[in-house]
Subunit: 147 residues, 2 copies
DNA sequence: TTGATTGCAAATATTTTGCAGGCAT
DNA sequence: ATGCCTGCAAAATATTTGCAATCAA
C-alpha cells in the first residue's frame, strides 16, 4: 500500500519551491507516517536508519519547511513542547495519549460563537484558539491497569 | 488597597512548609499582581528593583514552589512556552493577548460530556484538556488599528 | 540550632547561526 | 551554472545542578 500522504506532501513541498533532497524526503516520510508525536532527536535517530550521515540540524531545518508548508505542527504538552505531529486537514483539535504520545484529531462543534462572546466580555478580538485533550489510549490504559 | 491575593498566597506557601524569604516574597508579589504573562527573565529584572542581589536561579526555584502550590502556571503560546501567569481559582481557561501578553480567565460551559464522547470514539480515557483563546486586547487592538 | 534557601558557577539541553562544499534544478 | 541545502562546529538560549554560605523557623 503506497503512502498517499507522503506523495501528496512531496508535491506540496515542490510547489512551495523547496528542493527535494534525500534528507527532506526522509523527514517527510517519517512524519507523514507518524502515529506518536516525535521530537527532533527521535526523528533524527529514525532518519539515520536510511541516511547514516544525516545531521540533527538538518532535522530542525526540515521541520521548519514542513511547518511552513503546514504539513506538521508543534505539539505542546505539560511535560514539554518540542514534539511534532503531522498537521490535520483543516482546523481540527488534538487528542493525545499522555503516556505514549499517540495522537488523534477530532473536529469540533462550532465553538466560535461562544469564543466571540467571551472576547466581547473581556474586550478582546479573538483570532485563534487551542483545544487539546489529554488522556490514555487503549493500549496504555490496558498496560497501566495491569501494572 | 492591600493586595489580598499576595497575602493569601503567602499563607498558602507557609502552609506548604516553604520558608518565607525575601526572594520568594518578591516573586510571589510580582506574580500575584501580574497582568501580562511574564518569563523568568522579566520577573528577575523586576525583582531586582527590590532585591538588587537576587539571582536568576532563585526566580526559577521560586516559580517551582509557586507552581507546586498551584499559585502560578506555565503559559504556552505559539511563540514560546517560558511564560508564567497567576493560576485561576478552580478550572478556568485562558484568554491571551498575542501582542502584549495580557491574560484573562473565563470559565466554560460544561464540555466534559462532549470530550468524553470523543474519547469513547477514539478509544481514549480523557483525563484533562486545554482550552485557550488568543487575540488582541482592547489596548492593542486600538494601537494596531492606528498603525 | 539546623536544615531549607540563596547566589554563584558550571553543566545540560535545546535550538540557532556561520560557513564551505555538494547537489537539485 | 546557480544558489539552495547539507553537515559540522560554535554560539545562543533556557534551564538544572552542585556547593558553600546564609538565614528563617
Amino acid at each position: 500500500m503506497a503512502n498517499r500522504d507522503y506523495e501528496n506532501w512531496m508535491n506540496i513541498l515542490r510547489e512551495k519551491g523547496y528542493r527535494i533532497t534525500p534528507p527532506l524526503s526522509a523527514v517527510a516520510r517519517i512524519m507523514s507516517e507518524c502515529i506518536r508525536v516525535m521530537d527532533a532527536r527521535e526523528i533524527f535517530l529514525q532518519a539515520r536508519h536510511d541516511l547514516p550521515d544525516i545531521g540533527l540540524m538538518t532535522i530542525y531545518r526540515a521541520l521548519e519547511k514542513l511547518e511552513d508548508a503546514r504539513l506538521v505542527q508543534r505539539v505542546h504538552q505539560p511535560k514539554g513542547c518540542q514534539s511534532f505531529a503531522p498537521a490535520p486537514a483543516g482546523h481540527q483539535h488534538l487528542l493525545l495519549c499522555e503516556n505514549c504520545g499517540r495522537h488523534e484529531y477530532f473536529s469540533g462543534d462550532d465553538l466560535d460563537a461562544w469564543f466571540n462572546g467571551i472576547g466581547k466580555d473581556k474586550g478582546f478580538y479573538i483570532s485563534d484558539h487551542w483545544l487539546q485533550l489529554f488522556g490514555q489510549c487503549n493500549t496504555c490504559k490496558r498496560h497501566i491497569n495491569h501494572e
